[in-house]
């Protein structure tokens, strides 16, 4: 077998493992965005205690390594609180990545919200909208377009960072790559594997720029 044929043979198992990589990325970024929105709103809230708590959250989960957070959920949490043992590796990875991504996206969302001209909030208030209504109908819809590029960036970071789950023996693209490397005794497998990562990031980069264009209709 020549090298090309060998590489072609690895592609199906690599793609199979990519399901974990992709689903973990999408789930974490989507859930992280939902949680991040609330954390961002809490961070800019007039309630000092809420704002403080959200700042602390962001400080902790942006300030410690993602790998450590993953180990904490998978290894440390069951030791500390046995009731919180998570049996499923994929679920543990989702939790760790969501918690982490929420912290990053909270800052992205806060910045986008605060970049909206303050006159918009004033106009909404002068029309009698409550703060929550103004956020929902006026401020957040306008910040979405500004969110798309940094969230796209965050998505690509998460997509690559999912390779960390190979350390808790979850078989993602990275883990499958190193399994093939040791069984086939060759580093050649990194070529198709890297190509797959690049294809994924390319597809999502395109998707995010399409979203950005679609949200520019009113400009």
């Amino acid at each position: 077998m020549n090298n090309l044929e060998r590489m072609a043979g690895w592609i199906p198992p690599l793609i199979d493992a990519s399901k974990i990589t992709l689903s973990l990325s999408v789930i974490s970024v989507v859930l992280g965005m939902v949680a991040g929105t609330f954390i961002a709103l809490g961070r800019i809230s007039a309630n000092k205690a809420v704002s403080r708590a959200c700042s602390v959250y962001i400080f902790i989960f942006r300030g410690t390594p993602l790998l450590m957070q993953l180990f904490f959920v998978w290894y440390a949490l069951p030791l500390a609180i046995p009731e919180l043992t998570i049996q499923n590796r994929f679920l543990a990875a989702c939790i760790a990545f969501t918690i982490n991504s929420a912290a990053y996206q909270a800052e992205i969302i806060r910045a986008a919200i605060q970049s909206i001209d303050s006159g918009q909030m004033e106009a909404a208030k002068s029309l009698g909208l409550t703060y929550a209504q103004a956020m929902r109908h006026i401020i957040i819809p306008q910040s979405i377009k500004r969110l798309i590029p940094p969230v796209g960036n965050e998505f690509i970071m998460v997509l690559k960072d999912t390779s960390l789950v190979s350390t808790i023996a979850l078989v993602d693209l990275m883990k499958r790559t190193s399994q093939i490397q040791s069984s086939a005794s060759t580093a050649l497998v990194y070529l198709p594997s890297a190509a797959l990562y690049l294809i994924f990031t390319a597809v999502f980069t395109y998707l995010f720029s399409w979203l950005e264009k679609r949200h520019s209709v009113y400009e």
């Binding site: 004033e122 002068s126 029309l127």
Partner: protein, 252 residues
């Protein structure tokens, strides 16, 4: 009866006093123009009335209801949040920079508050919005986004948007200052039309000719105080205060 009764309004940002004992009364159907140099506190005063700025001390009575009663920054008003919001709805505001919602069409801009604040049905809100947009002369722009409109058209949409809440009082904060000179006229014409149907209005403006035309009363503010107020012909042709004279000489 006065619709707006502001009594001894004081407002400070830290150590900086921007309003010093400003008292003003605006009667039903009256049009009052506030003029004066920039930094005089005209806009701040207007913004305290509808709570975009809080006052440090003084009283604000809107349509006979005590909206604000403060001393040394402490709120003594017994109103609940809900009662307060209800009174605030009696005032509509138009801003210098239009503050139109860019992600909503003209029609949606005008429909939004009646839908979500007044809880009107879609059909009613739409009918009202179309009527108001027609009255500011923009019927052909219903489905258009604000970025496709000129400044004058955006400001007219903003006026229609404020009117959609059926306020008893309209506050205008330099409504033509951000406009190209050739667009000022169309906005002033809409405001004049409002005056002719008896809308109570408080207008901060630099358009002296317009103030002379439309105002029942002109107020000259300087350095956080009202230095002079009176009928436009008196203020403009025979100002009593030296500062008023200097200001008018500079702008006329």
């Amino acid at each position: 009866m006065a619709l707006i009764e502001a009594k001894s309004i004081c407002k400070s940002f830290g150590d900086l006093a921007v309003l010093k004992n400003v008292s003003l009364s605006v009667g039903q159907g009256e049009v009052v123009c506030i003029i004066g140099p920039s930094g005089a506190g005209k806009s701040t005063f207007l913004r305290t009335l509808n709570h975009l700025e809080s006052i440090t001390s003084g009283q604000i009575v809107i349509d006979g209801q005590l909206l604000d009663d403060r001393a040394d920054g402490v709120n003594r008003s017994p109103l609940s949040k809900k009662e307060e919001s209800a009174i605030l709805l009696e005032m509509g505001m138009v801003f210098q920079r239009f503050n139109i919602f860019p992600h909503k069409t003209v029609l949606e801009n005008v429909m939004l508050a009646p839908l979500h604040v007044r809880k009107m049905s879609k059909e009613d809100a739409r009918a009202r919005a179309e009527d108001l947009i027609g009255r500011v002369g923009l019927t052909d722009k219903l489905g258009v986004y604000p970025s496709k409109l000129s400044g004058g058209q955006q400001q007219r949409v903003a006026i229609a948007r404020a009117l959609a809440m059926e306020p008893k009082i309209m506050l205008f904060d330099e409504p033509t200052s951000a406009l190209d000179p050739e667009l000022v006229g169309e906005v002033l014409a809409v405001i004049k039309k409002l005056a002719s149907v008896g809308m109570t209005m408080l207008i901060v403006t630099h358009e002296i000719g317009f103030a002379r035309d439309v105002a029942d009363k002109v107020v000259f503010m300087y350095d956080g105080t009202i230095l002079e107020e009176g009928a436009p012909q008196d203020i403009f042709s025979n100002p009593q205060n030296e500062r008023t004279r200097t200001f008018l000489q500079a702008v006329l």
